[in-house]
């Protein structure tokens, strides 16, 4: 998902008897559904895992602005332009809520940026794919924000208070994103032959990368158990992926578009759709830096950060001077 491969230290959950009294009390609080707050005692590994996860989530929101920002100046109508601008602005806000949540764990904003820029922290693989046509704005809103919602809704119940509260805000804002995307797809799917072809092409390109957003298959996802016990991960990757496929398949049919998977069929017995797994080799390549746009995205982030340095410094210096003048008066 937005946090796809969060490296976690505990591959398996430590048995409750082996926990120290403090750790046991902590786990009991989580089991009772209590929220952990910044000043509360927490195991060092819980804190570290959360910084990685929330940080990765925040980076994804920020880097995620780039593929869509690409189309703001070329939106087909003024209304679409305003819609997309509002959506991309929301994503900046999501990034900010999440960075603030991470900062309550004792990491600074600058440290988080630095780790992103140095490639020490990841962001979602999905944002390393190019946005080639306007239909991609539709596909992203519908599929990418759709997948994000699927992951973020359960995270509103996550054990860490500031993270849960950020998720509540984000979820409130997110559904407009998916609806505006779907509406673009609908308009194009009902439009001219060319528009319909573009819509289909966007679905073809974004389908499997969207499935990858949920992270590796459960059998290869070694980091989950401890995160689930700590309630910083609420569902397994495959569980959410299945839910996503079940939700999107009928919507694609409604649009009259074909999901690019010949094996995607409704399975009466399981009550779910069967579907093909994405190419996991591709996923591991993209997440480790070798996707089509990884370099471009990271360069854009670094450029924005470096080019903005004089503004950040100047504003701080000016504010200090103003404050001094006030004291002098």
């Amino acid at each position: 998902m937005y946090a796809q491969m969060v490296k976690s230290t505990g591959e398996t959950v430590v048995a409750k008897e082996k926990l120290s009294p403090k750790e046991r009390e902590f786990q009991d609080r989580i089991d009772r559904g209590e929220k952990i707050e910044p000043k509360d005692w927490m195991p060092e590994e819980y804190r570290k895992n959360l910084i990685r996860q929330i940080g990765q989530h925040a980076h994804s929101e920020i880097v995620g602005q780039l593929p869509e920002g690409n189309w703001i100046t070329r939106a087909p109508t003024l209304e679409r332009k305003a819609n997309l601008l509002a959506k991309v602005q929301d994503e900046a806000g999501h990034g900010l809520y999440l960075y603030c949540a991470a900062e309550t764990l004792g990491v600074s904003r600058d440290e988080l940026f630095d780790m992103l820029h140095k490639g020490k922290m990841k962001y979602s693989s999905i944002f390393n794919y190019p946005t080639l046509t306007w239909a991609d704005m539709g596909a992203i809103g519908w599929l990418v924000d759709g997948a994000a919602i699927m992951n973020q809704v359960p995270l509103q119940r996550t054990s860490y208070g500031p993270y849960a509260r950020a998720m509540v805000r984000i979820c409130k804002e997110e559904s407009f994103h998916q609806r505006q995307g779907f509406q673009i797809m609908l308009t194009m799917a009902q439009g001219t032959e060319d528009q319909k072809r573009m819509a289909q092409d966007a679905l073809n390109r974004f389908w499997y990368p969207s499935l990858m957003m949920f992270g590796p298959s459960d059998k290869d996802s070694v980091h989950s158990a401890q995160s689930m016990a700590w309630k910083i991960k609420m569902n397994s990757n495959d569980e959410l992926r299945q839910k996503f496929v079940d939700e999107i398949a009928p919507q694609a049919a409604f649009l009259g578009l074909n999901i690019p998977d010949d094996d995607l069929v409704w399975n009466e017995k399981t009550g779910h759709h069967d579907y093909s797994e994405p190419d996991w080799d591709e996923f591991f390549q993209v997440i480790s830096g070798n996707g089509p746009c990884n370099k471009e995205r990271l360069d854009a982030r670094k450029k924005a950060w470096n080019d903005g340095a004089w503004v950040r410094d100047g504003m701080l210096a000016h504010a200090r001077k103003k404050a001094m003048r006030k004291v002098a008066e």
Binding site: E37, Q89, D90, G93, R109, D110, R312, D313, L316, A319
Partner: protein
């Protein structure tokens, strides 16, 4: 990366259209109070959520410590007589 100093952190409180009081909504970085209010408008009121914004530099907030929860809040737990329902009155006495 360029090493420069981070902008201070501010806690943001918003009173909504029908809100009785300002509520904490989150935090953000800004150089001073004026800047914090401007940023808060962009970050926390994009959907008409507020009619008033308060900003407080985070370092100026003192908070009770979680380990003090017992001594601070337990004493009020057994004082049920501070609630109106503690006093059983006959219906004939009318609404009170």
């Amino acid at each position: 990366m360029t090493v420069s100093e981070e902008w201070p952190l501010w806690e943001i409180f918003i009173r909504g259209q029908h809100g009785m009081s300002h509520r904490h909504v989150g935090s953000l970085h800004a150089v001073d109070a004026e800047h914090a209010i401007k940023n808060a408008r962009d970050v926390y009121t994009r959907r008409n959520e507020g009619v008033s914004i308060w900003v407080v530099e985070a370092s100026n907030i003192s908070a009770s410590s979680p380990s003090n929860k017992g001594p601070l809040f337990d004493p009020s737990r057994d004082k049920v007589y501070r609630h109106p329902t503690f006093y059983d009155l006959p219906d004939e006495a009318g609404n009170m």
